[in-house]
């Protein structure tokens, strides 16, 4: 079938084309522009579903740019062209990226209605999606750098969307400084690897890597740059500013892009696999530190979005704790290592859903009251649905049983316990503290005497997408095995067997 053969490149091409079509169509009619954007996003979503289904059933799919037959990767055992490579792991990640962007775009249709420069906003939104999908699907190092820069430029512009606010500009500047230094370090590392092996393809380099001193320098640079983009502990300082100052739906996308850089990090770890035990321990310890710092800083925040951003740092901590402790058992993770890695990957999905829901609720509260801080009170009287959604998000993010956060966090706890009981205990304590924090937020915003001013109504489409997120949180929480077996386990298998990934190219 031809559509599925060309799906990887279409996934990048459709949002990119739509991004630059948006301002032109927006000149004609704004309704038409919304329609065009939603069509592009829905077709991307459709293609990712098709591609994931195909990849999980039939194995790795490669796409060579410019080749006569898309599947033909290396005519002489030496890949020269840019190759996109999709296995169950990146299919899973791209599914998350496109679904979240679709949800956010529907949310924005009403949330952003009063803003004037919507054409550009949607262009940047679609460019951000292009960057995320490209970063996920590419199998080429230099391409990775290009998409990383597309991602950082468009997200910096989106952070500065409220141009009239000075803090938003500063947050964007800070984000841009950090991410461009990170991206240049990535480029330097790519240069180091290219200088030694004359290759740019990730799988081909992984096949011929020697583990020399320069390789280690290059890998350290790559790993630290992607940790920087993901915002784990030593380099988390841009995160609360950026998430707190961006429009709430944009924060959801920033969160998703952080998770995507985590995916790139795990991919680099597993295919190069130089000293995985040490790196696994480093990741696990960074994860614990992120959890600790995230929850303790969230405790003292007074701005809702900043608070959610700090709990986002803690959630990233859980993911790298899980995957890191799985990597300790690396060459053949079978027992607790497998559970740990799949728990970490499962948590990527749950994290997007939970924190996404909370950010969208923060956006709705901002839409209603125009306030970003916690001193509101009594919203539950007039907005009972919002309160219920918040309770669901709160339960999920702190890992309470009927919600999805519980399923993945339990997997992480029980497997990390085998590695070192102390790590698991700190993780559980972090979750409990998180619950305490969000209970405080809930009572500050929703309980108390009714909010005195006249409130607007929340548009139906915003409520609908929050409802979709809440329903999927409950659904995954009730039937975690369904999701685990259909998506997460193939993804984990793809991640821990880098041989397949490498051999698909050579």
């Amino acid at each position: 079938m031809t559509l599925i053969e060309h799906a990887p490149i279409l996934l990048i091409a459709i949002p990119l084309l739509a991004a630059f079509l948006t301002p032109i169509v927006g000149r004609v009619n704004s309704l038409l522009r919304n329609f065009e954007m939603i069509i592009a996003l829905v077709s991307t979503e459709f293609l990712t579903i098709l591609l994931s289904y195909d990849v999980i059933r039939n194995g790795i799919r490669t796409y060579t740019l410019g080749a006569k037959i898309p599947g033909l990767t290396s005519p002489a055992g030496f890949p020269v062209r840019i190759i996109l490579e999709v296995d169950a792991m990146n299919a899973f990640i791209s599914l998350i990226a496109s679904s979240i962007t679709l949800i956010v775009a529907i949310y924005c249709l009403n949330f952003m209605k009063e803003q004037r420069i919507l054409d550009k906003f949607y262009t940047l939104l679609l460019l951000l999606l292009t960057g995320m999908l490209g970063l996920t699907l590419t199998g080429d190092f230099f391409n990775l750098f290009v998409f990383l820069e597309i991602l950082s430029v468009s997200s910096a512009a989106l952070i500065a969307f409220y141009v009239q606010r000075g803090e938003a500009l500063e947050a964007a500047f800070k984000y841009m400084v950090i991410s461009s230094v990170g991206a240049l370090m990535v480029l330097f590392a790519i240069g180091l690897l290219y200088g030694q092996y004359d290759l740019l393809n990730m799988a081909a380099i992984a096949d011929s890597i020697q583990g020399s001193f320069l390789d280690k320098v290059a890998l350290t640079l790559l790993i630290s740059a992607f940790l920087l983009k993901a915002g784990s502990v030593p380099v988390h300082m841009w995160k609360p500013d950026a998430y707190g100052e961006a429009p709430a739906p944009v924060s959801v996308l920033l969160l998703t892009s952080a998770l995507i850089s985590l995916y790139v990090l795990f991919r680099i770890f597993t295919i190069f696999a130089i000293n995985p035990v040490l790196l696994g321990w480093i990741l696990a310890i960074l994860g614990i530190l992120s959890i600790f710092l995230g929850v303790s800083m969230a405790l003292i925040q007074n701005n809702l979005q900043r608070l959610i951003a700090y709990s986002g740092i803690a959630e990233i901590g859980y993911i790298i704790l899980g995957v890191g402790s799985g990597l300790v058992e690396f060459p053949s993770p079978t027992g607790f290592g497998f559970t740990a890695i799949s728990g970490g990957l499962f948590h990527i999905l749950n994290d997007t859903l939970d924190l996404g829901l909370l950010f969208l609720i923060a956006g709705a509260i901002f839409y209603l009251t125009g306030k970003r801080d916690l001193n509101i009170g009594g919203l539950a009287h007039s907005q009972p649905t919002l309160a219920v959604f918040f309770l669901i998000g709160m339960g999920a993010v702190s890992g309470l049983p009927p919600f999805n956060g519980f399923a993945s966090k339990l997997m992480i706890y029980e497997s990390v316990y085998y590695l070192n009981p102390l790590l698991a205990i700190i993780g559980i304590l972090g979750s409990i503290l998180m619950l305490a924090i969000f209970v405080k937020v809930f009572s500050a915003i929703f309980l108390g005497i009714p909010y005195d001013r006249e409130l607007r109504k929340i548009p139906g489409s915003m409520l609908a997408v929050m409802g979709i997120l809440a329903l999927s949180i409950i659904f995954i929480g009730l039937f975690p095995n369904l999701v685990l077996e259909s998506i997460i386990t193939p993804a984990t298998k793809a991640l821990i067997n880098p041989k397949n990934y490498i051999e698909a190219i050579l």
Binding site: G166, E167, A172, F173, K174, V177, F188, G191, Y194, L200
Partner: protein
Amino acid sequence: MFHNIPFIAVIVLIAIGLYGVLFKRNLIKIVMGINIIGSGVNLFLIELGYREGGVAPIFTSAPKLEMVLPTPQALTLTSIVINIAVVALMLSLATLIYKHYGSIDSEERRLKG
């Protein structure tokens, strides 16, 4: 020793750039630092593909077959373009920050840059 000079220059450029980004308080100087790191990395890429006495890698009516490696040059071109975009965006943010606060010192505001 002699042909190591470009690599030493790369290290020096990146170090100067990092110094600018980390220790300068003026936003424009931070942007300059990033641009200098970018130039250092670009020089590194070009140097990787350099071959002594090589000509430009265009096969049609080439005078000889000793050519410099074309891939790093393509990479460098792309990265120069990206760098320009990044620097332009950052300078425009700096302009807006100046309009908003009347200063481009990174220490004077709430968020520490």
